[in-house]
């Protein structure tokens, strides 16, 4: 199955499929904290935002995994300029999702490897990832490939 999965840059035609996966990911995040409760009816805004992100290749790297015509996973990262630190650029993974049937088969790894490759071509020497603190499977995944915790985000409703 994994051999048939192709990784490529995200394009405008992917918007609907990517949005469906994003919403599944966000609904999963709901399980971790009430502050991650998904608001309803924003499809138009999300779609427009995705369009802008896809166009802005300077500041974003977005990839999709597809099996034939079927979108089976995606990864989206922001390119961040680190004015105070070295290395100067990082690619921060903000969204990362593989559909259930394709999990545990190396699709996520393939997406991540491609992201690293593209980042490295652009001299981006650091990859970071953000996800809800209670998503222990995500922690386990990143720790298993030698990522370590860097920054914490605390929250309180004002």
């Amino acid at each position: 199955m994994i051999n048939l999965v192709n990784i490529r840059l995200m394009e405008k035609k992917d918007i609907d499929g990517v949005m469906e996966q994003l919403l599944r990911l966000k609904h999963l995040n709901e399980e971790f904290d009430p502050l991650l409760k998904v608001s309803i009816g924003n499809e138009k805004e999300i779609s427009e935002k995705l369009g802008r992100i896809i166009d802005d290749r300077e500041n974003h790297i977005g990839l999709v995994a597809e099996d034939g015509k079927r979108l089976v996973g995606m990864i989206m990262s922001d390119v961040i300029f680190r004015i105070y630190y070295d290395p100067k650029y990082e690619a921060r993974i903000r969204e990362f999702y593989v559909i259930p049937e394709y999990r545990g088969k190396g699709v996520g790894m393939k997406l991540l490897d491609k992201l690293r490759e593209l980042a490295s071509e652009r001299n981006i020497k650091m990859i970071t990832a953000e996800f809800p603190s209670l998503n222990l499977l995500a922690s386990k995944f990143y720790e298993s490939i030698d990522f370590k915790e860097l920054i914490k985000i605390y929250s309180k409703i004002n």
Binding site: R24, E31, I99, P100, L136
Partner: protein, 435 residues
Amino acid sequence: MIMKDSERTEYFDRNAIEISKKYKGKILTLPKVPITGLEDFSSLYTPGIAAVSKKIEDDKELAYELTGKWNSVAILTDGTRVLGIGNVGPEAAIPVMEGKALLFNYLGGVNAIPMPLIVKNNDEFIATAKAIQPYFGGYNLEDIQSPRCFFLLESLQKSMEIPVWHDDQLGTASIILAGAINALKLVNKKKEDAKIVFNGAGAANIAAIYLFEAAGFRKENIIAIDSKGIIEPGRADIDALMFKNPWKYKIALETNGERVQGDPANAFKGADLVVSASISIPGTIKNEWVESMNRDAIIFALANPLPEIWPGEAKNSGAKIVATGRGDFPNQINNSMVFPGVFRGVLDARSKGVNFDIMVAASQAIADFVENPTEDHIVPSMEDFDLFPRVASVVARKCVESGLARKSDSTEGFYRTASDIITKNRNIYNKLFDM
């Protein structure tokens, strides 16, 4: 029929309270060595007994030969899901655990000890279970809520050197499989081809799906249904299951090869066997769903006290074989036909564990015990006393073949051992109540 049923229920309730008031508990520790005088205690207890302790100190495994460990089972519960009455707490679970201990002893000759635990979380449960292990040759987990029960069973099975069983999952799954084997045989259908629907995704049905897979049924031909409908990977709540119930998550990914979606009605179409452990209201399974099944349909409507469809209704809608959880209809699917024999077997083999292969062997032995199955007789009944040593011998032998046994024997040898223990135990009962 419902009226008659509720009257009977009230009678059982009243009687149970009266018996509990009268006997104040259902089990008793009795001496099993003759005592001729107090001087005997110099060997039964100190100073002589220290010599036995020293032997066990040198070799812990000798506890199986020199103490009652070989025949002792702890019934562990946190009281979070007692029968159909829910999270009543460990104290309120005691009467149920005592009843279970009685069944263990009466049917299987096993010394089972109720062990309700006050624990705050999974880690505390596991730590406590490990701490009290030395005296026990096996553990039975009982009446623990799902999905906690899966986590505890898996963790304890992995980390302990004795068999750990959760009867609500494994016992029920084994008797379902035994019934399915005979029912499918009667209608001449092969397990490789059988299309099976599991209606309800509680502990028993989830365990049954894994057991059916181990028995050679094909996962793609299995469809599971929960309160939200047919389980399939496209459903929006499947991602959260990965965290909340990985056992059910795995089923969502691996079963339902055709990716049937939606209402239970869609799953019933063309199914050969429906195993329902769902809501205890007749009509939960609709007549037209049964009508849409394959020819010679088989229905296990296992909700208690009332089945999801009355057997008569199911038959009128075309079902050929119907089983329920009740003793007042033919084909009672009852886990009391499983655990006494399974425990007798794993204890007699001094087994280090129990697994799905052993359970498949147990289910096959239970199915084979019914020599000439008919539509109204696919599983044995509790009066078939010889069932328990038969199952025990097959289980014990399978433990040997799986490399889990500390003690080896032939199937016939294990049968004699089990039969001897159970018979002697029953003789003790007879003497006790001659008094």
